[in-house]
C-alpha cells in the first residue's frame, strides 16, 4: 500500500474547484430562487395582510359613518318632529284664534241680528199696539149707554136657540164694572122683557167697563176686558202666523 501525494494534491484541488463550481452554479442560484419565492410569498402575505387591514379599516369607517348617519338622521327627525310640533301648535293656536274671532264675529252678528229682530219686533209691537189702540178706540162704545145699546143689539142678533138657552138659564144677571144708573139699564131690561125675561143687577170690577148678561147657561160678553182679551188673542194669532 502506497499513498500517492500527487493524486492527493490533485484531488484536493479538484474538490476545491468542484466546491466553487457547485457554489456558483448550483447552491447560490437555487437558494436565491428559494429566497425569491419566500420573498414573493412574504410580499403576497404582506399585501394580503395590508388588504385585510385596509378592509377592516374600511369596514370600521363604514360602521362609523353608518353610526354618524344614524345619529344625524335621528337628529334631523327629532328636529323635524320639534318643528312639526311647533308648527302644529302655531297652526292650532292660529285656528283657535280664527275660530274665536269667527265665533265672536258670529256672536256679534247674532247680537246685531237679535237686536235688529228685537227692534223689528218692538216696532211691530208698537204698530200692533197702535193698531189695537186705534181699533179699540174705533170700536169702543161711547160710555155706559153705548155698552147698553151694544148689548141690546147683540141680544137681538143672537140665534134664537142660543138666546133662549141663555135667557132660560138660572140667575140671569146684568153685570157691570160699577153700579150703573137705571136710565142706562132701561134699554137692556126692555129688550129682555121683550123676550119674556128679567135679570138682576150686579157688579164685577174685572170688566173694567161695560155691561154683560150672565146666566147659568152662558154669558153674553160686552165689556172692555172682553174686548182687550179678544184683541190680545188676535195679536197672539198674528204672532203665531208670523
Amino acid at each position: 500500500m502506497s499513498f500517492d501525494w500527487t493524486t492527493f494534491a490533485l484531488q484536493v484541488i479538484n474538490l476545491l474547484v468542484l466546491l466553487a463550481i457547485l457554489r456558483h452554479f448550483l447552491f447560490r442560484p437555487v437558494a436565491a430562487m428559494i429566497e425569491t419565492r419566500r420573498a414573493e410569498t412574504r410580499a403576497a402575505l404582506d399585501a394580503a395582510s395590508a388588504a385585510k387591514t385596509e378592509a377592516e379599516a374600511a369596514a370600521a369607517r363604514a360602521a362609523q359613518e353608518a353610526k354618524a348617519s344614524a345619529a344625524a338622521r335621528s337628529a334631523v327627525l327629532e328636529k323635524a318632529e320639534t318643528e312639526a310640533e311647533t308648527r302644529s301648535a302655531a297652526i292650532i293656536a292660529k285656528a283657535r284664534a280664527e275660530a274665536d274671532k269667527i265665533e265672536a264675529e258670529g256672536r256679534a252678528a247674532r247680537a246685531r241680528e237679535d237686536s235688529a229682530a228685537a227692534a223689528q219686533a218692538l216696532a211691530r209691537a208698537q204698530d200692533l199696539a197702535l193698531a189695537i189702540a186705534r181699533r179699540m178706540l174705533a170700536e169702543r162704545p161711547d160710555g155706559p149707554h153705548g155698552y147698553a145699546a151694544r148689548l141690546t143689539e147683540a141680544l137681538e142678533k143672537m140665534e134664537a136657540a142660543e138666546r133662549e138657552a141663555l135667557l132660560g138659564g138660572s140667575d140671569l144677571t146684568l153685570v157691570s164694572a160699577t153700579a150703573l144708573p137705571d136710565n142706562v139699564l132701561d134699554g137692556p131690561r126692555a129688550a129682555l122683557k121683550a123676550y119674556g125675561a128679567t135679570a138682576g143687577v150686579s157688579t164685577d170690577p174685572d170688566l173694567i167697563e161695560g155691561l154683560e148678561l150672565r146666566s147659568g147657561s152662558g154669558v153674553l160678553r160686552n165689556s172692555l176686558a172682553h174686548d182687550l182679551e179678544t184683541l190680545g188673542r188676535a195679536m197672539q194669532d198674528d204672532r203665531s202666523a208670523a
Binding site: M1, D4, L10, Q11, L19, I21, F27, T36
Partner: protein, 237 residues
Amino acid sequence: MEAPLSAPVAFAAGTLHVTWPVVITWGLMILLGGGAMFVTRHLSTRPGRAQAVLELLVETLDSEIGATIPGDPARFRALIGTLLLFVLCANWSALVPGVEPPTAHLETDAALATLVFGAGIGWGIRAQGVSGWVAAFAKPSWVMLPFNLVEQVTRHFSLVVRLFGNVMSGVFVVGIVLSLAGLLVPIPLMALDLLTGAVQAYIFATLALVFIGSAVTGGEAPAPGRQSDPPAQKEIP
C-alpha cells in the same frame, strides 16, 4: 493484476502522473457542474421536477445545518452540499462498468477529510478568533489539551478510514464475486453498494458538519438533530 490499494496511472504529463481516480473525479466534476448549469439555467418561481429536487436538497441541507450549527446555514451549505453530492456520486460511480470509485482510494478520502479539517480550522478561527480557537483545545481543562489535539487528527483520520474501508470493501467484494460466480451474481451486492454508498455519503457529510460545528462553537460538539435557531423565516399565519 494491480495492487488493489494503489491508484493506477491513467496518463502522464511530463513528470506528473495522473491517476484514474483523478480522471474519474474530473468526469464527476463535469457531470455535476454541467448538470448544475443545465438545471439552473432556467430557474423559475414555479419549479419543475429537477428544480424541485434541487430545492428539496438545498432546504434539507439548510435544515440539517441549522439544527447543528446556530446562525445562517448558507455559510456551510456549499461545502456540506458539495461533500454530500461528490461522495454520493463517487460511491455510485461503481455501477458504471470499468469505473472504480475515487472514494475507494485513500488519496481521495484523505483529500475530502483534509477539506473538512481545513474548513474546521478556518471557520473555527473566523468564529472564535485565533486565541479563542486555540483556547478551545484546553477545555474543559488544560489537561485535555494533548488529547484534544490528538482528537483533531484522529477524528478526521477516522473519516478517511471509514469512507475508504466501506467503499473499498464493497468494490473488492463485488470484484471477487464477479471473478468467481459470473455476470448476474454480483447484482444484489451492487444494490447493497448503492445503499452503502448513500449511507456513507450521508455519514461523511453529517460528521463533517458536526466537526465544523464543533470548531465553530468552541469545542462543544453539537449533536446532529439538536434544535437550534432556524433560518430566518416569516411565519405564515
